[in-house]
């Protein structure tokens, strides 16, 4: 590997290539969360390929969803590979392990997914940009949607870990009705019979849940089979393109909230959906759109400034002068997105399950922690 790098470096010297920008991507490519990292990576690669730039060198590593491995990889990237920009992390616990130390070492970090509240408020940093959302955002949108749908008695559940607690807090921040029940489930739980029985007995008029990955698949299949027909709302994570096919008809009609959908009718998004499907043979997911947007943000900033000029480069990133797949996109003072979040409904198109926008849940929404952020 080292030998290979050396030969490439020599070759670059020989041909007098232009100054390269080195981007380190640490993302989850194995284990239960691999589908998410794969989509972010593929979206990112697609944008790089479409830009036609050959001066961006991307180093991709798999964090195996383990914080200690992510930290090792990040140290290696910063200290021995000397990357200028880092990106890729999916899970908030890994983000908390990697990002604070990376940005303090002068690396610019563009988060394509994780948006823990700690990094949005007092822990904000001039080198840290979130291109997806602050973690609470989609849950807040679900709460707002519940109000418009006229729900007044929600049963809410999430796994007992920081992002799960943030989810219920986010929902309750916007939701104005009563709570029929509030449950913390076990992280990684696969059987929800006990919770579904409680939902049935609670007399709720709606159910809000945040159960990412396999947990959501299990919950939805069991919920559909239980005969309980109280309407369900949730953030997009349990209804995204990657997992909808595994849930099947059990998810039909469920309303979920997202800042992106494949039917947002703007040319850049339609072109993205088309080229992603053509390139990879599957429909893009939310995560793929986030990877694609992250790469395009980076490219837009590189057009204006070189990463070696840190201040100019960050200013160029803050401008967010790129066409995002989700339409209007800008950064707030804490360098997290201010964006519109939609309510989508799960529908069937042919034999593919996918989402369709049914309305706007929150318009031009910023996050609740921005006020606590004091940029130096």
């Amino acid at each position: 590997m080292k030998k290979l790098l050396l030969t490439t470096a020599l070759a670059a010297l020989a041909t007098g290539a232009q100054a390269e920008v080195k981007v380190g991507m640490i993302t989850t490519l194995s284990g239960g969360g691999a589908g998410l990292g794969l989509d972010v990576r593929d979206g990112f690669l697609l944008a790089l390929a479409q830009s036609g730039r050959d001066d961006i060198e991307l180093v991709v590593e798999d964090d195996q969803q383990a914080p200690d491995i992510a930290v090792q990889l990040s140290d290696k990237m910063i200290q021995s590979e000397r990357v200028d920009v880092m990106t890729g992390i999916i899970f908030s616990n890994l983000a908390m392990a990697v990002i604070p130390s990376a940005v303090n070492q002068g690396v610019v970090y563009l988060s394509p997914n994780a948006g823990p509240s700690q990094l949005a408020g007092r822990g904000c940093h001039p080198n840290y940009f979130n291109v997806a959302w602050q973690n609470d955002n989609l849950h807040e949108a679900a709460g707002a949607y519940a109000n418009t749908a006229g729900y007044t008695n929600s049963f809410i559940l999430a796994p007992n870990y920081p992002a799960g607690q943030d989810a219920l807090t986010g929902y309750k921040r916007m939701y104005q009705g009563e709570l029929a029940g509030e449950i913390y489930t076990q992280l990684g739980q696969t059987d929800y019979a006990a919770e579904i029985a409680q939902i049935r007995a609670s007399g709720a008029d709606s159910v809000f849940f945040f159960l990412p990955g396999g947990m959501g698949i299990s919950f939805l299949k069991q919920y559909a089979d239980s005969g309980v027909d109280i309407p369900v709302v949730g953030p997009a994570f349990s209804f995204d393109q990657g997992i909808l096919q595994a849930v099947g008809a059990a998810a039909l009609g469920v309303v979920n909230t997202a800042q992106w959908s494949k039917d947002i009718d703007i040319p850049v998004n339609q072109a993205f959906v088309e080229s992603f499907s053509a390139e990879y043979g599957r429909l893009p997911s939310l995560y793929a759109s986030q990877g694609f947007d992250t790469a395009n943000l980076l490219i837009s900033a590189l057009e204006k400034a070189d990463p070696s000029d840190n201040d100019a480069f960050r200013a160029a990133l803050r401008d967010a002068d790129f066409e995002s797949t989700r339409g209007a996109f800008r950064f707030g003072n804490n360098q997290h997105p201010i964006q519109t979040i939609y309510a989508r409904e799960v529908v069937q198109e042919g034999d593919v399950f996918t989402n369709r926008i049914i309305g706007v849940a929150l318009e031009d929404h910023a996050d609740a922690y921005a006020a606590e952020c004091q940029m130096p």
Partner: protein, 306 residues
């Protein structure tokens, strides 16, 4: 808290208990007969679920899918036993743990190579879907009742096999004294392969049955594996009967704990604290149960050897 809800939760506990038994039975057999700690047992569960999902996807038949799960997991078991495990019987437990942990990684990444990183679809057959009304007006999913029935039937069949057949006698003899039964002319290596395949098939069956109501994805076996180990420690390592009792206890403790502990705490704590404290304690409940059993019966409830 109504009686209906309590009965429903007891059924839920039973159902998760009998499925856990299918996993624990194989694990405890393999440990009892061969003295092998098989961490890759969860991978065989995953193999069963993936085989079922693949076959159900092509043929649309749930029964064929179950057969495929049994066959695929048993075949994987035979393969693993003859290629890898056979070399480990004389080895230290630590070497076994290391080698079977390597098998987990090989199975997981191998499955990902074949099926990709996204979860697969496996659904309940239409003739078992939807709720039924039980006496007393309890609405309960038919499929979960079927799972309880299937689990109990397998338990009964295993009991007959172990207690009433010639192979069963050999298995029990193998648990007690493997040198002696080898000396008596039983082909011990064939017996070991057979036991391993049987354990693997049970795990594969559990994976397929449970896969229909859960997510069929890489790594799905490991959480169950941990619970199955807790179960056989509670029941007594090597004892099928112990595995059954342990599995039902763990299933009930887990289900009822997660429902009733938060309710219990609400009697004397404010709701928010009661909820998070109850949820945390419910997570620990099976491990507390295991510690209590180990304090009073160090060999487990039905364990013969201390």
């Amino acid at each position: 808290m109504s009686t209906i809800l309590i009965i429903e939760q007891v059924l839920n506990g039973l159902q998760s208990g009998v499925m856990l038994f299918l996993m624990a039975a194989g694990l405890t057999l393999i440990f009892g007969v061969m003295g092998l700690i098989n961490l890759a047992h969860g991978s065989l569960y995953m193999v069963g679920a993936f085989a079922a999902a693949a076959v159900a996807g092509v043929t649309g038949s749930f029964l064929l899918a179950l057969l495929a799960a049994l066959a695929a997991a048993a075949a994987a078991g035979v393969l693993v036993e003859t290629l890898v495990i056979r070399r480990l019987y004389a080895a230290d437990h630590l070497d076994q743990v290391l080698a079977t942990f390597a098998l987990i990684l090989i199975f997981s990444e191998g499955t990902r190579l074949i099926f990709g990183s996204f979860p697969l679809y496996l659904d309940i057959p239409s003739w078992l879907s939807g709720p039924v009304t039980l006496p007393g007006g309890i609405q309960y999913p038919l499929y979960r009742l079927a799972l309880i029935g299937a689990g109990l039937a397998v338990a009964l069949a295993l009991w007959v096999l172990i207690e009433r057949t010639r192979i069963g006698i050999q298995i029990r003899a193998g648990e007690n004294d493997r040198e002696m039964i080898a000396a008596l002319g039983v082909d011990i290596s064939k017996l070991y392969t057979l036991v391993f395949a049987l354990g693997a098939a049970l795990a594969g069956l559990a994976g397929a049955l449970v896969g229909a109501i859960q997510s069929v994805q890489v790594g799905m076996g490991e959480p169950v594996l941990i619970l199955a180990f807790v179960t056989i420690v509670i029941g007594g390592i090597g004892s099928i009967k112990g595995a059954f009792v342990g599995a039902i206890l763990v299933g009930l403790t887990q289900t009822l704990g997660s429902v009733f502990l938060p309710v219990l705490f609400r009697l004397f704590l404010e709701p928010a604290t009661a909820m998070s404290l109850g949820a945390s304690l419910a997570n620990m409940a099976v491990y507390i149960l295991m510690s209590l059993v180990l304090i009073f019966r160090p060999a487990g409830l039905m364990g013969a050897r201390a």
